[in-house]
């Protein structure tokens, strides 16, 4: 249906680190022709209010996401593995620093 040969450039996903020591967090996306411009466009869009000290950009098509249909198989088996959590264990009364 589209007879327009327009290009708005490829889509990139943007991750911003707000301050040192914390993980980069997904903030949204931008369009850009290449990685250098993707970084700069992200800077101009997502850090207008000093929201970040570091930016990652990733081509949107490079992201692999799990399928909701697989969520049972993927995530539910860990629901009964409470022994992975520290609160599962009973410590002798009075013990400290553990």
């Amino acid at each position: 249906m589209s007879n327009v040969k327009d290009s708005q450039w490829p889509l990139w996903e943007v991750f911003v680190q707000a301050s040192p020591g914390i993980p980069h967090k997904h903030v949204g996306s931008v369009h850009a022709p290449d990685k250098q411009m993707a970084l700069q466009n992200s800077r101009d869009l997502y850090t207008r209010r000093s929201e970040g000290i570091s930016i990652w950009v990733v081509p949107a098509e490079a992201i692999v996401a799990s399928n909701p249909e697989d969520s049972g198989m993927f995530f539910e088996p860990s629901n009964d593995k409470v022994y992975r959590h520290p609160t599962f264990y009973v410590m002798p009364e009075g013990s400290k620093n553990i």
Partner: protein, 252 residues
């Protein structure tokens, strides 16, 4: 001319360059090739107008007549503006805007690096803040020079035409008058002749990498140091100052 008069005039030159170029870039709002670029151009307009506020405020202080930065921006006639002719040239197509940015940002980068060492603490302080913005502007302009020059045949032609058209406004960036003489002696500013070789080297490198040709024409425009401008400035001023002039007693 006293040192104070020279400093006032110099601040007007710096402030007007920022203000008028910021004005031109702000005209891109809603007109850029893609919305991401609209935001980028506006960011630079904000940097430039923000810088002009700081410098014109200082100019008013140096002048000592109780004016504000707004008085200087909104109540001066066109013959009392001292920005370079380059920055008042119309936006043209995107290539013209990029070439104008490229010439100017390269120049500003060299100038403000020197101004950071100025004996005038206020100017040095403004320069230290502004140099980071200029570095980003220069990166933006350089990136686009490469993409336009070495993009498609059409973009190459347009970039070359823009280079040729803007070339005649480049010599004026380095022109000096009595103001410069006085302030160089005081260690407040720098001899612009010393920046020129470096400027030429830097722009030559980028132009060649962009697969473009450095223009060779020797005719150069001049006039802004005496407040003599191209016809375009009058329209900028008329638009910018319209409300202040139509309602002289109003506060906004």
């Amino acid at each position: 001319m006293t040192k104070q008069e020279a400093l006032f005039s110099y601040c007007l030159r710096l402030g007007d360059n920022s203000l008028i170029l910021g004005h031109r870039l702000s005209e891109w709002s809603s007109k850029a090739p893609i919305i991401e670029e609209d935001l980028a151009l506006t960011n630079m307009a904000l940097d430039l107008i923000g810088r002009s506020v700081a410098i014109l405020k200082y100019a008013a202080e140096v002048e000592g007549k109780g004016h504000t930065e707004d008085d200087l921006a909104y109540r001066r006639p066109e013959r009392k503006f001292y920005n370079n002719l380059l920055v008042e040239q119309p936006n043209g197509d995107f290539a013209v805007t990029i070439v104008r940015q490229f010439f100017n940002s390269t120049f500003e980068y060299l100038l403000y690096e020197e101004l950071m060492k100025s004996k005038d603490e206020t100017l040095a302080g403004i320069a230290a803040k502004t140099i980071k913005e200029i570095k980003y502007h220069l990166r933006h302009a350089t990136d686009w020079m490469l993409r336009l020059g070495d993009g498609t045949p059409e973009s190459h032609l347009r970039a070359q035409k823009a280079l040729n058209d803007m070339w005649m406004f480049t010599d004026e960036l380095f022109e000096m008058n009595e103001v410069d003489e006085i302030l160089i002696k005081e260690g407040i500013t720098v001899d612009l002749n010393m920046l020129k070789a470096n400027w030429s080297k830097k722009i030559n490198e980028v132009i060649l990498e962009s697969t473009l040709t450095v223009p060779t024409s020797t005719f150069m425009q001049t006039g802004s140091r005496q407040g003599i401008h191209s016809e375009y400035l009058g329209y900028i001023i008329a638009e910018m100052q319209y409300l202040q002039r139509a309602y002289p007693n109003a506060k906004w």
